[in-house]
Symmetry: C2
Amino acid sequence: MSRMPVAERRAALIAAAERVIVQSGVGEASVRRIVAEAGMSLASFHYAFESREALFEELIGGVVAGEQEALLAEFVVGDGDLRATVDAGFARYLEHLRGKPERELAMLELTWYALRTPEHADLARRQYARYTALAAALLERTAAGLGVRWAEPAEQIAKLLVVFTDGITVGWLVHRDDEAAAFAARAAADTISRMAEPR
Amino acid sequence: MSRMPVAERRAALIAAAERVIVQSGVGEASVRRIVAEAGMSLASFHYAFESREALFEELIGGVVAGEQEALLAEFVVGDGDLRATVDAGFARYLEHLRGKPERELAMLELTWYALRTPEHADLARRQYARYTALAAALLERTAAGLGVRWAEPAEQIAKLLVVFTDGITVGWLVHRDDEAAAFAARAAADTISRMAEPR
DNA sequence: TCCGAACTGGGACGACCGTCCCAGTCTCGC
DNA sequence: GCGAGACTGGGACGGTCGTCCCAGTTCGGA
């Protein structure tokens, strides 16, 4: 492996680790497996990171940010009514999920991993705080675009949105049943859109 | 360790494995750790089970059955209206979750473990089919007790119930926010109870 | 009572793990 | 051009892993 500044190497290792986790799971993401994926030597790893844990810590934070960006770019406020807009949002997420199921599988796996490690438990919390913030931003944008306002605190509805999304994700990952997922998504959209009132 | 017929030993090992997984996660459930928990010697394990995988296969099926029974026993059809009954059902589940959070985390972890192992993927599906059947039974019983009927196929609503429950579980496990979980539970109960019509 | 089968504990195997060390190589500023 | 420091590759450490073997012990049926 040619020379490479530390920052770049760290990024490359994190990306490699992410690929390994998405493909084969957290349990398979050993240091050796990660450096093999990155095409580096074993020693390079501990030159860039103090420990395996240190990489995981950065990984969890960073990976969510990427996820966030990808999802945020896809969503647009439609021109129909609120119900149809939220419905379309869920449909778009389902499409994303169907396209990269291993990725969402890995995201949840990382959550379990973080929850199991006491010193990383707040990493999971931060991970979800990001999701919630993303959801809140989407809700705000949607409400503003359609001239309505939320009857409940936006943060609470945002958390609800995340909860619904998680449930739908878990369900689909297990059953791979598009129809059931769409049904759940419609029900969730119905519930959420009912929480707005005209401004 | 004294003598013990194979069947009994298998059961003891599965129980020990379950305790280890609940306490420390699937990743920590090595053969050595399990036999230590069971108070046996290492060789006894491979006398009772062909491999570690073989134990996990039995474990996943059995553990869900226990979970099922525990939850089923708790639920009762109240004498209020449907909305209140479903709400109370969720509240009861939340109580159960608050009481044994590691257990529900372990359930999700086991599902993910099964999903990651191609030859066990249908174990996860069967696990969730049981959940769905349990949910369907609860819904039927509730509807019968309150003199209403479901406007959608019971199976579909049952799946929705599982989806909501999963989402709420994940959310609470991450945030440990009782209020947010209760809010989500109320929203879910609202959605589901809206799917019934008088008979 | 004794014999064969069921069952036990201890130890060993090769493989993989995370981490570390160190001699060498390259690159940059002077 | 050269020295110092950034960076590399290979190999080694102690530890845990799943699995297996085997010499013993214990028990039920003859």
